[in-house]
Symmetry: C2
Subunit: 332 residues, 2 copies
Amino acid sequence: MTFDVETLARDILAGKRRALSRAITLVESTRADHREQAIALLERLTPHAGNSIRIGITGVPGAGKSTFIEAAGLHILERGHKLAVLAVDPSSALSGGSILGDKTRMEELSRRREAFIRPSPAGKTLGGVTRRTRETMLLCEAAGFDVVIVETVGVGQSETAVADMTDMFLLLLLPGGGDDLQGIKRGIMELADLVLVNKADGDLSATANHSASDYIHALRLLHPRTRNWQVPVKTCSALEQRGIAEAWDVVTRYRETLTASGELLQRRAQQAKSWMWTETAESLLSALRSDQQVARLIPQLERAVTAGIKPPTVAAAELLDAFLQNNRRPLD
Amino acid sequence: MTFDVETLARDILAGKRRALSRAITLVESTRADHREQAIALLERLTPHAGNSIRIGITGVPGAGKSTFIEAAGLHILERGHKLAVLAVDPSSALSGGSILGDKTRMEELSRRREAFIRPSPAGKTLGGVTRRTRETMLLCEAAGFDVVIVETVGVGQSETAVADMTDMFLLLLLPGGGDDLQGIKRGIMELADLVLVNKADGDLSATANHSASDYIHALRLLHPRTRNWQVPVKTCSALEQRGIAEAWDVVTRYRETLTASGELLQRRAQQAKSWMWTETAESLLSALRSDQQVARLIPQLERAVTAGIKPPTVAAAELLDAFLQNNRRPLD
């Protein structure tokens, strides 16, 4: 596949879906020449990106994430927005499958022209997957999508990664109590800017209200992620489409509050800067790992370190010496 | 100051306190020749380290951490152990002061020969401070200290860093309720293997019990850090020395449970390996940052990235190019 970067850029800015899809494929490619073109494209488009509200969504298993995104997505389109739905799923490389891969999960939404749904890129590391999703987000924004939802399956550190690339983080929970609640992963509660107890319908209505009170109580023990923002806990039913408009009102109010305080801009700037440094650190480390001489050292050093024979700092110094000797630009 | 590494090693293994102090000074030194000697010393001693239970302690402000460590420390000595108390305080470089710097905070404990108290190393980065504390921990273990307490003031990510270098993490709280509890930092609750509500004495006894129930309730919403371990919440009074023996019994039971399941060894091996990689990544990044050509690029790239003009991945690629020689292998 070949790409004409300038044509691609113009077509994306004109909102052409096919160009956007091709650009995402380019960004996801691991070929060196593709990467160079991807960089040129991103350089060209980034000044036109950023004009969206970026929403991260995670949920406990069974919370009905797809149904919720379908219902919320249709509401968002009704309000006149253009919506992109992306995903971060570092397990998709292993499982072969991928969240959002099956578009029938969001049947109605996927048929709408104002919505763009893209499955998680495959990747062996969370860093690789999130890098591509971040870049895809920029492309979608340049194509005029003003609401971006990034869904995560909650493998490893993926929620933290998604919270770090979005403006607002939404946690979807189930009605239930006591031991049922143990399904929430460590630290997830504290990333949330909005907690929604879904499936508040039929027999579960009362339980949902009870759970919401429990979560309000639990949240009082935690520092909110965002200054000047008391994390709301609401109930909703994606199935019966109740509570969806109210949830979207919270998103709108959140955005207004953080825009007014300047916090949204600040957070974006901070995210961009720390993304640059994370990316630099990861690329350095991957350059080190793929150096042949270093690669020969790694197994024996890891063995010595885990056996408690060699101090980790010493092993690290040996890895660094081996790498820099081979790869360092000559000193000027 | 000069050091004879072999003599130092032998003296430390013989349990000589002066040698241990000198070795810690060596490990904390930033001089290149000292670092080389420190590495030799650590290589020599690491096979003799590891025979301790490593306990991390943090607390909300006013929870009475020093009084607690003094009371618990004396109890630990009574049980026939040798105790080292270290600290991680990345703010000490800025404030000039240091936790544990003032030994009068633990007056009785600091006079005991079976106890060794060392203030936090100074350092500008948390990474630097924790590296030295980890290395100091190895030295203390080689010197025969079989209980190591690592205290943290809770600045930045220091609790996570301390939890990552210890076997068990203890959170000290105050009696109180409602909004008072907001003082707990994000994510700290979830690091805890044992929660102690201190100052359960006098008028506060009833409040302390009430708080303990609140925390038990809150903890039910969180995944425990350790498999097969339900995090206990206990009350104690360090001042009146009540609940201290019970807390130590929990530590003992914890250690037995995790030793039996093999989890303790596993966790240590995992910690050592991830320490090696963190150290490698940090050293690489600091080599990059201190490269003259790179240093000239950083300000303009950070400006472009935070302004949303340049994509962070592209800026990272430029930093890497400047640092590594041009014929490096392309990164994926």
